[in-house]
Amino acid sequence: MLDKNGIAKRIAKEVKNGYYVNLGIGIPTLVANFVRDDIEVEFQSENGILGMGPFPFEGEEDADIINAGKQTITTMPGASFFDSATSFSMIRGKHVHLTILGAMEVSENGDIANWKIPEKMVKGMGGAMDLVASADHIIVAMMHTNKRGESKLLKRCSLPLTGVGCVTKVVTNLAVFEIKNNHFYLLERAPGVSVEEIRNATEGTLVVEGEIPEMNL
């Protein structure tokens, strides 16, 4: 079973040379730490920066340079700042290749819910609805089950949707899935996790074809 860093580490392998990548808040943010050094990648944050770097050294924080999680950050050489319309031009126009974000629920047809629990919690969708409506390649990073132990990989989402039929891959603490033909295709198991455990933890339709390898992290 993976911890949050493990999930991020596995997802980092999906980041290819030449990719512009948007990382959501939470586990996705950690992905940047695990991307190989020998490939060319740039991180976009939808509040208006391309070429995001690591956190600043203490004392070098600048209130005017933050990411979409409102964290102080730095820039890499070749970075640029821009307004929010330009930022979403990059996203809507499919110039950002890969979007990695968290979710409360994902369904077997690729729907995602991550912005609202009716009557209880409404933080808002931020840029998530634009991101999932636009990117060709969307990876969800999340724990496999919620705090009550219920599967977050469902036949149909129960919460208000963020986007429809858009998620292409899901990486959880238990496994990696591809979503196609309205099913969760099991691609890899987390170290020490059996297909049976994954099946038991997955409410949506699971497809297991042949031998499922353990992740190579």
Binding site: S45, E46, N47, G48, I49, P54, F55, P56, F57, E58, G59, E60, E61, D62, A63, D64, I65, I66, N67, A68, G69, K70, Q71, T72, I73, F81, F82, D83, S84, A85, S87, F88, I91, R92, D111, W115, K116, E119, M121, V122, K123, G124, M125, G126, G127, A128, M129, D130, A133, S134, P160, L161, T162, G163, V164, G165
Partner: protein, 233 residues
Amino acid sequence: MINKKVNNVEEALLGVSNNMTLMLGGFGLCGIPENAISELVRLEVKNLTCISNNAGIDNFGLGLLLQNKQIKKMISSYVGENDEFERQMLSGELEVELTPQGTLAEKCRAAQAGFPAFYTPAGYGTEVAQGKEVREFYGKMYVLEPAFKADFAFVKAWKGDEAGNLIFKGTARNFNPLMCGAATITVAEVEELVPLGELDPNQIHTPGIFVQRIFQGKKFEKRIEQRTVRERS
């Protein structure tokens, strides 16, 4: 040159009154018009509709107007990090219209640029699209979103001149340039009002035509919401 300079925040906000729709720049607490917000608190104008990506935190930014119950309706994309907001919303005191961030940005830009509405894929198939026209183009579905209409836009820039030209800094740019010219009157507060001719015409982020009033802000606190740092190795 058409001179847009006013002497202070009081003069800059002349004409603001109850029931108006206001746009306020900023993302989180980054690039918010701190001086205009303070003046709105002082003026005690009520029943405001505020268009702003976020709603501040409990004791800063738009949170100050919320505490004061001056806001009737918020139009935002993300409103976490604000307990008073959540309380007012769940109790029904505060009307909230959540809008995808890219849609929010483009609704400002549409108002600035004279477009009545636009088609965007964001929100299709979700409750955001409920009651709105949807339409297929090239096999993909889009939602028709109208441009904003607002009485005042309050923005914050780094540098500006008397002609109303603005330059923003870093990610404090965000929604600020898009709100300029998107309301009947745009008020810009700047950290530094520089002499005319000092800004390079080639490096203006917002041409002065989009700004009606400009003033040098008295104080910018520039709070950091999430101070994240790394160790020196």
